[in-house]
């Protein structure tokens, strides 16, 4: 059992380093979409919610699990849709003009 705990702890520590490394390079103009995007990612608690509702034996567990799945779904779906809506708007300067310069470069 302790070995399992150790394995989880390893995953935790390495993930923490990856999380810090990745974010260090994000330009500030993308901070809001980043916050929103990572907000959607912690919606993975939906998987945990499904597991507890799927294993529920008592009515109490069923009610709590049901609520958890609803909340987690809100988190996942809302998070991804909002982030996509924000990012949809990030467009570069006049794409046609850019395409032209690309042609010239060729």
């Amino acid at each position: 059992m302790t070995n399992v705990l150790l394995q989880y702890a390893t995953v935790l520590v390495l993930s923490a380093f990856v999380g810090v490394e990745i974010i260090a390079k994000v330009p500030s103009i993308l901070h809001t979409p980043l916050m929103s995007g990572s907000n959607a990612i912690h919606g993975v608690i939906l998987v945990g919610s499904m597991l507890i509702l799927g294993a529920a034996n008592t009515h109490l567990e069923e009610v709590l699990g049901f609520l958890a799945v609803i909340l987690a779904t809100l988190n996942v779906v809302g998070g991804f849709v909002v982030t996509d809506r924000m990012l949809e708007m990030f467009k570069g300067r006049k794409p046609q003009a850019k395409a032209k310069t690309d042609e010239v470069a060729k």
Binding site: H31, A68, A72
Partner: protein, 464 residues
Amino acid sequence: MSRGTLIDLLYLFSATTFVLALKGLGSPKRARMGNGLAAFGMLVAVVATFFKYVDGHALHHVNLILLAMFIGVIVAVPTARFVQMTAMPQLVAIFNGVGGGAASLVSITEFVHIKSTNPATYVTLEVLLGVLIGTVSFSGSAIAFAKLQELMTGRPVTYPGQQIINAIVGVAALGLIVTILVQGSTMLLWILLIVSFILGIAFVLPIGGADVPVLISLLNAFTGLAVAASGFTLGSNLLIVAGTLVGASGILLTRLMSKAMGRSLSNVLFSAFGSVITASGASGTDTRSVRSGSPEDVGVLLSFASKVVIIPGYGLAVAQAQHVLRELAEVLEGKGIEVFYAIHPVAGRMPGHMNVLLAEANVPYEDLLEMDEANSELQTADIAIVVGANDTVNPAAVNDPTSPIYGMPIIHADLAENVVFMKRSMRPGFAGIDNELLYNPKTLLVFGDAKDTLTKLVAVVKAS
């Protein structure tokens, strides 16, 4: 390959997409693809979970799961699609809060489920941490939402002995955790739930509206950690990886944000910033003179300009004037005038919020300058136009050590030859501090609704 192994491999795939998605969010070009990739990874994980065995049997209550998901989807999609872009921070707060709530519920339910098997102490500890952090995130996000949505005052809510009371609630929560670890009582777990809920509220109440975005980022990191704690309890690597990624990156992002305001994180969280408005500034307002003008006056200024820097703030978005502003920039560019937008890191209600609002109005992101770049451009600019911004151009942050925003990096609008300050009234900004720049002889104040003023200005410039 066994069913379990295949599902774990699919989970590994999902975890990889989350890492790549966060990386993709580092560039405007790949960000949207990254978000889509994470959504796909999430879908894979959810579908795979339907085939998972728990306690040696296939998932029970599949119909209930599908029903709950259906309810979640029909509420979340319209909300996320149709809410105004200016309300984005509240929306992120609420979606974050429900995630924290879900993590807390997962931990509680798992505790109820495994309690009869006398779980090891460390398992109980993980459960308790999940409940504590998840619930604080839930109730804290709810208050943050109420503050941003203006359901309650955006000012810090303070009462005598607040710090002491908060400390007592915090200690009570820790005491409960220790007691539950020793006794394993489910009754006390419910009390911990209530205490955590109160703690979340008490923690957020004294934080002023201007600081709420930093708080949301912190609560976002909290939810990530609560999810990681649930991952330990459920034995899920996927939850641990995703939760920790969000927790670690969220804490870093929170620090970046408070740094942009020139303050430490503990100062943001515990100083009830903005509750004391400097009395001297408020009473001195009437005696100092300001120079105000009409859009036509600005039009004259603009006809002599060759370089214009626009400094937008949240007031622009409130007036829904982003599109008119872009129109003005295009008209000016048509006359051969260089136009840039100077974006303060905390302009709007969240870092990068202003960029999103301007992107919505089709402003090309190449025209958006970050603060340092903007300040060097301002030295050679003829006109700085401040629209709906206030605290982010307040020289008090540099000149006045007694000012609450002293030390915050600002955009030096006063470096430009002329400053045009579009303002609704003489009221101080979000942080509640008087602005020296208004009384600068270089400054021309144009009172009125930002949208009206800009519309008139576009007409004036077009006609000249």
